[in-house]
């Protein structure tokens, strides 16, 4: 539920830290580069031994047949999968909508927080208040408050669809974090860049738009991708509102059959979505770091 506990730390690590030694990358190729053929062979064999032992102990434990029937039952998987999959499709749609709104709304909040001049004090104050508030409240609580609380007011013209309020809760909570990520990015752009832009006659807004923000956003893309991975999972929390997304569908199946394989079906789907994003984030961050160190040299 915390995409980036300390955005400035993330940014600092990306922008200014020394490049990680290549040995930190877990791949056969990296091992090969570092240690040669013998190293790669050792890495391969030790992996086989370690994972072989783990699997052997698991499947030979007394409770394994029970675990297998409860969590990894083929028939239950086949039976529950279609419903879980259609629920997951809803998860993906909510994720995409929420993420798109978050990226824009958080940027607006971050820009407001960075406005200069006494006239903007009330706006700045509101932005800080919003960020403090929604970073301080557990996401689950926001979902419950909005999803059950607001429709209960029965106000005219206010949507009652739990999906709407679920996504709204995700947007409000995540935008507070993401705004801080953007702010760290804006702060990472040196003041002299703003001076240079203002010296050319650009207004405060133009300086931000053309000189500061493009650099700021680029500096925090790894942190933003990290938030993406996190949101992709947290979408499942809206199931508490009774929305029939993947986790809810799995739960329904479980309550009917007392078998937990449907949860594993949901697990597989979430992993299939989040692992590629996480790998992409890693790849992008590594490439970005290489580029920066090149341009310095």
């Amino acid at each position: 539920m915390e995409p980036a506990a300390d955005p400035s730390a993330v940014v600092g690590g990306v922008g200014s830290g020394p490049p990680l030694p290549p040995g930190r990358v877990a791949s056969w190729r990296a091992e090969f580069r570092e240690e040669g053929a013998v190293g790669a062979l050792i890495a391969f064999l030790s992996t086989i031994v370690v994972f072989g032992l783990i699997i052997w102990f698991v499947v030979h434990s007394e409770t394994w047949p029970q675990v297998r029937d409860q969590f990894l039952n083929r028939q239950d998987f086949v039976d529950s999968f279609p419903d879980v999959l259609s629920g997951f499709w809803l998860d993906l749609k909510m994720f995409v909508v929420a993420q798109a709104v978050i990226l824009v709304f958080a940027l607006v909040v971050a820009v407001i927080r960075n406005l200069r001049g006494p006239a903007f004090f009330p706006l700045r104050f509101l932005a800080v208040l919003y960020i403090d508030l929604f970073r301080g409240i557990p996401l689950l609580l926001v979902i419950l408050l909005l999803g059950f609380g607001v429709p209960a007011l029965q106000l005219d013209g206010v949507p009652t669809d739990p999906r709407f309020w679920g996504v709204t809760a995700l947007v409000l909570s995540y935008s507070a974090y993401t705004a801080e990520v953007y702010r760290a990015g804006i702060d990472s752009v040196h003041e002299s860049q703003r001076s240079a832009a203002r010296a050319l006659g650009l207004t405060q807004w133009q300086a931000l738009r053309f000189a500061v923000l493009p650099q700021a956003v680029r500096n925090v893309i790894p942190a933003l991708l990290n938030g993406l991975v996190s949101l992709q999972k947290d979408v499942a929390l809206v199931s508490v509102l009774g929305i029939r997304e993947a986790v809810r569908e799995a739960q329904i199946y479980t309550s009917r059959t007392f078998n937990y394989t449907s949860y594993m079906a949901a697990t597989v789907l979430f992993l299939l979505a989040s692992v590629p994003i996480a790998r992409f984030a890693d790849w992008y961050t590594a490439r970005d770091r290489r580029r920066r160190s090149q341009s310095i040299a």
């Binding site: 860049q193 001076s195 240079a196 832009a197 010296a199 050319l200 006659g201 650009l202 133009q206």
Partner: protein, 253 residues
């Protein structure tokens, strides 16, 4: 702040600037005629850079007045953006925008501030970049360029809008010694072409060659000014003598 509007290109009267308890500029008077080149010299921390930043309205001033082409640019009701449009400034650390190509750096102000169409702005930018020897670098990003090339690109960015006044803030101080020459050559050409300039510099030899007038600053004041031949050869003030002696001893003159 009343009185006759000065006919000079730049007129600074009684300029004061304080940072907290520190008085950085303590009543600066300076006037620069059209086509004139004035070099501001003095020890580090004497306020040279702050003076230039104040003239470009990048710092709020705490007293005095600044006039550009006979027009007061300080005081109530002045749009600082409109003033900055008419002045070019080049910084010690170049301050090019790293996410933009050289061409985009140079066309940013013409397009966004002066409302020129993209084509016109780019043609003009190419012309200026050509003149400064960067014709083959237009599509490069600043971090691919040497320090001297970056600083010439920054000069092109300041020049392209045809400013009434060009401010140069120790533009060679961040350069490797072998790259200083190419930047000074550009400035020399600009002076020959009649550009009105105020340059803060540590290059005494260059100041002597190019400037029509040299102003020596010390602790936020202009202690003495005059033609370079006079000021360098027979300075009136003891402080000026000491400063020039230190510079000469360091082999910079």
């Amino acid at each position: 702040m009343t009185g006759d509007a000065p006919a000079q290109r730049l007129e600074v009267r009684g300029l004061r600037k304080v940072f907290g308890p520190k008085v950085v500029l303590d009543g600066i008077d300076l006037s620069v005629a059209e086509h004139e080149v004035v070099a501001v010299i003095g020890p580090s921390g004497c306020g040279k850079s702050t003076l230039l930043r104040c003239i470009d309205l990048l710092e709020r001033i705490d007293g005095g007045s600044i006039w550009l082409s006979g027009e007061a640019v300080t005081g109530v009701g002045v749009n600082a953006n409109d003033v900055r449009k008419r002045i070019g400034i080049v910084f010690q650390a170049f301050n090019l925008f790293p996410h933009l190509t050289v061409l985009d750096n140079v066309t940013l102000a013409p397009r966004r501030v002066h409302g020129q169409p993209k084509r016109v702005a780019e043609d003009q930018a190419r012309e200026v970049l050509d003149r400064l020897g960067l014709g083959d670098k237009v599509t490069d990003y600043p971090d691919r360029l040497s320090g001297g090339q970056q600083q010439r690109a920054a000069i092109a960015r300041a020049l392209v809008t045809g400013p009434e006044l060009l401010l140069l803030d120790e533009v060679t101080s961040a350069l490797d010694p072998e790259l200083v020459g190419e930047v000074l050559a550009v400035i020399r050409d600009l002076a020959a072409a009649g550009m009105t300039m105020v340059l803060a510099t540590h290059e005494m030899g260059f100041a002597r060659d190019v400037a029509h007038r040299v102003a020596f600053m010390h602790e936020g004041r202009v202690l003495e000014e005059g033609p370079p031949a006079t000021l360098f050869a027979e300075p009136r003030e003891e402080r000026t003598r000491q400063f020039l002696k230190r510079v000469t001893d360091a082999g910079r003159l």
